[in-house]
């Protein structure tokens, strides 16, 4: 695939890898924010191409993992008891809720009408095809995905599709990065920021973070060469003691992002404090549907108050160390439950629930035992 294959060229990657080894003189800890990046790192075993001084830690960047269990419970209730058609991304089907009443696959088995869709527009089409049913799209994701939800909501409003609503659990990445940097035991010295988030919202959130915390931030793509090039820039900035914002992923990221998409986000959503599973309440960390679109907001339409249950901050059960893993304070392999009490079939915490979660990615591709 053009503009993908090229960034996997072995010679180029060897060159970037060598450049990192050459640039580094001391240990550094860098966090890649996005689960897609974690996925690529593990998929391509990029850690094996990095010098031992460099520690890559994995951020909270899997929106599937950080969706509060209470939202999943609410979705499940709507589908099982409310009789709605619940549409969502396939990634969400196997994520357990907070009440441990099972995942959406189990809800399907119990008779709920749960459908996997590739886009919120597919869910909107379902609503148009079944005017007698309520169709609810459980929409998760960062600023990359939120515009798709916005488009579906605006199209429903424009077209008067009264039986369509969105149960939105969209989150904003920059506030979570700020929270991590501000944490007491923070170990993260530099960030690879999420390239596709920035493709939408641009890079203006980052200079204040660089300034305040002194950590370089490199907006990075998702292919092996992107990631190594991002690491190299980050290492060079750290080694030089000159933290700044850089954009490695220039082919997709403009400083202003995508103004059309940002305007849609602005029209449909407002920025709110929001709970992230495993991380707790993140100030300004979420997007809520504006009251103007209440008719298509499943929270209002069905009078759901998932966060009132007050446990959204919970990261996992019992001895789960999700809060540490998601902040880069603990590597998955160092969690005592990893691969023992906690597996993708029976996850104890957020980072094990989706295959993009840091614990699950390690479990699957790197090692099953600590």
């Amino acid at each position: 695939m053009k503009w993908v294959e090229e960034f996997r060229d072995p010679a180029a990657i060897r060159a970037a890898s060598a450049a990192i080894a050459e640039a580094i003189t001391q240990p550094w800890t860098i966090m890649e924010v996005c689960g897609g990046q974690t996925h690529a790192i593990v998929r391509w075993s990029l850690h094996e191409l990095l010098p031992p001084e460099l520690e890559l830690v994995h951020g909270p960047g899997c929106p599937v993992c950080v969706t509060p269990g209470e939202v999943l419970d609410a979705a499940r209730d709507l589908a099982v008891e409310g009789g709605v058609i619940l549409a969502t991304y396939a990634d969400m089907l196997r994520v357990p809720g907070q009440r441990r009443t099972g995942d959406l696959l189990a809800a399907r088995a119990a008779g709920a009408d749960v459908r996997a869709v590739a886009s919120p527009l597919d869910a909107l089409r379902l609503a148009q095809a079944h005017p007698e049913r309520e169709v609810v799209m459980l929409a998760v994701g960062f600023e990359t995905t939120a515009p798709a939800s916005a488009a579906a909501i605006e199209a429903a409003a424009r077209g008067g599709v009264a039986n369509f609503s969105v149960l939105a659990s969209h989150v904003r990445v920059a506030p979570a990065m700020a929270m991590i940097l501000a944490g007491e035991d923070n170990r993260v010295q530099g960030f690879l920021a999420a390239g596709h988030v920035c493709a939408v919202v641009g890079t203006e959130d980052y200079p204040p973070l660089v300034e305040r915390y002194g950590a370089p931030i490199v907006v990075t793509g998702f292919e092996p060469l992107d990631l190594l090039a991002g690491v190299l820039r980050c290492v060079r900035a750290l080694e030089a003691g000159r933290p700044r914002l850089e954009v490695q992923y220039r082919r997709a990221v403009r400083p202003e992002g995508n103004p059309v998409a940002r305007a849609a986000l602005e029209r449909v959503f407002e920025v709110v404090d929001a709970p992230w599973r495993g991380l707790g309440e993140v100030p300004q960390g979420g997007l809520a549907i504006r009251p103007e679109f209440a008719a298509h907001d499943a929270l209002r339409r069905f009078e759901l108050r998932p966060d009132e249950r007050g446990v959204a901050a919970e990261g996992g059960q019992g001895s789960c160390r999700a809060a540490d893993v998601l902040r880069g304070r603990l590597k998955p392999l160092a969690c005592p439950e990893f691969g023992r009490g906690c597996t993708p079939e029976r996850p104890l915490g957020a980072p094990m629930v989706s295959s993009e979660g840091a614990c699950a990615a390690y479990y699957r591709h790197r090692a099953r035992h600590a």
């Binding site: 998929r43 391509w44 991304y89 099953r368």
Partner: protein, 337 residues
Amino acid sequence: MPFSDYERVVLAHGGGGRVMQRLIRDLFVAAFGGAALERGHDGAVLRPRGPIAVTTDAFTVSPRTFPGGDLGSLAVHGTVNDLAMCGARPLALTASFILEEGLELRELATLVEHMAAAARSCGVEVVTGDTKVVERGKGDGVFITTTGVGELLVDPPPGPERLAPGDAIVVSGPIGEHGVAVLAAREGLSLEPPLVSDAGPVHAAALALVEACEVHCLRDPTRGGLASVLAELATASGSSMHIREADVPVRPAVADTCELLGLDPLYVACEGRFVAFVPAAQVDDALACLRRSGCEQAAHIGALGPASADPLVFAESALGGRRILDLLSSEQLPRIC
């Protein structure tokens, strides 16, 4: 239709009376032919010359027709292939049909004809069968379960218990075409040219290999794809396996579809490929034999390591890194993350 006054399957087609008899006689027996079926008994007699292998599979593919195959041919090839994976020459098949009330008989006839054609071209006879009809909403058109009986070519036959440290791993052709073609057909992705399933018979190539080399194990990477089959066999063998991803043949259209949908082709199903494990010294003979049998893209993709307390499958990427190929929880689904 010559085999029914109805255009669709009705409950009477499974009712044990004339309507059913006519369907059996004028559709099934007519298509499959053969002395065993015409005998009109509820079972068939076979006279194998030695030890036999038996294998069974239910076929429930949706959509029933996809580029490169359909439920009918698949139900024959899948079981013929499983026999070959046991090192057995296919001798006979049984076919059991669960029909949903409402299925168009014309479609059923086409599927049955394709089954019969597939059986003929594999040199195997459908010797006995069964038909049940379930009420509308209690089935999905047609389900076909075939069971195969075959004669072992070698005894002991290839099997997981014969896997040995050092064995070379060979795959018979490019992987993942079936899974992606069926997904594309089901989800209405429009591919140009359409992605074609690899579904087809592998017994000729597999059995040629068994005759040419000391084959330790054969397996067709169906559900869960190549990675899952290797993970299962690593556990069964007690040895880790090492493969080189770059050596695993994947056609560009499969690779691209996987990129688009977030799938890993190593976990995508094939229905016309197999993996063979042979002693390292015989790998060139094995590849030559496969190429002679029409498997031009057969490839040596890796080897078994020494025995291990925690036998895993390791894949070395094109970039040199190594990852574990573990069993997934379930089937891969398209992802957005």
